[in-house]
Symmetry: C2
Subunit: 213 residues, 2 copies
Amino acid sequence: MGRPPRFTPQQLQATALALLDAHGPAGLTMRALAAELGTGAMTIYNYVADREALELLVVEAVVAQAQWRHAPQAHWRDEVRHIATAMWQAVRAHPHAIGFILTRRSRSPAVFEVAEALLAALARSGRSGQALLVAFRAVWALVAGAAQAELAGPLALQAGESAPRTIERFRALPPDRFAHLIEIAGAALGSDAENEFSQILDLLLAGLAAGGR
Amino acid sequence: MGRPPRFTPQQLQATALALLDAHGPAGLTMRALAAELGTGAMTIYNYVADREALELLVVEAVVAQAQWRHAPQAHWRDEVRHIATAMWQAVRAHPHAIGFILTRRSRSPAVFEVAEALLAALARSGRSGQALLVAFRAVWALVAGAAQAELAGPLALQAGESAPRTIERFRALPPDRFAHLIEIAGAALGSDAENEFSQILDLLLAGLAAGGR
DNA sequence: ACCTGAACACCGTTCAAGT
DNA sequence: ACCTGAACACCGTTCAAGT
């Protein structure tokens, strides 16, 4: 007998993301999601194949939030910057989702769409084929890597750790072996993430401009 | 009564990494590790505080495998390339560990040592303070991001998927919306990872050279 | 100090039965 | 077609008892 679905896929997706945002990866379970929706755990399996599919749904939800405008009249450099920044911001808006975004292979339209937009902008630098691929991979890596560095890099802030405490932690390292690291720890704490990402991107864009048109 | 430990920390670390390499993340459990060592699950807790600590042990094991030589007479560009490549290769040698490396914050000496070596090389470009931090974060992001892209990027090969099958999958996308992605999919499959990483790094190094000395 | 089994509070998922 | 509870095979970890 054709029974109408109790939930929409969008409802599931939004609830899963909300759960993740609120309680972190450990809080996103089939059972917790079901409870949040007011049903039993097994009901979730009417909408996703398994836990992995649920995680992909969340990745899609985050990446889909990346918004950019197509600007064919702008310089390709500005358009690449615009799209890369949009993606970085979307990822950054959901810190608890970053782990999933970094490690789960998503084939969702949202991911393909940012990829295509980036490729189109980069193609305007005069690249095609292997050179275009390399340029794309470089920008993608920088965006993903910037999110990674903030989450888990050597200079990432520990969750709930104060700035003075972080500086102190680095000062406690052997100064003869980690001189630069200790020196830079202060700058890392004073650094504004948005501005820093912009500068990192600038470095790569300068390299891309040198090789392009 | 002072009882001598049955295992060394190195033994635990090596066995954990071997288990991960052989069976993937799902295969690395406290119980499986204990069984592999021929003991009960709870024995592991005499060596690590919890599962998270075990994962950090594995991350450390992988990063510690990065080997580079200090070359103060070489151009800073070559030294940066050398260290970045060493780290990328170490990460790449353990595909099943990449997820942990990307998402777990490690404060192990191994991580601090690559970071310091990279910083020292980059400092020779004439940078210090915020500019040095930005240069470091850019290189780090590129290395981490390259590993990410290979694991989970839009052009990553699906585990066990053949090259023709991958191309077919991209050809099945709407060609009007994903023209560049479809075009580039072929290049992505023919691309040699080592060579591609080198080219990506070149782009960033060109940008770094333009801003440095 | 280190070892370890029993037990607890969770998971994801299979199965079978419902509408 | 979709819903759902019971049950199974796992987890990480606490506790208490051992040497």
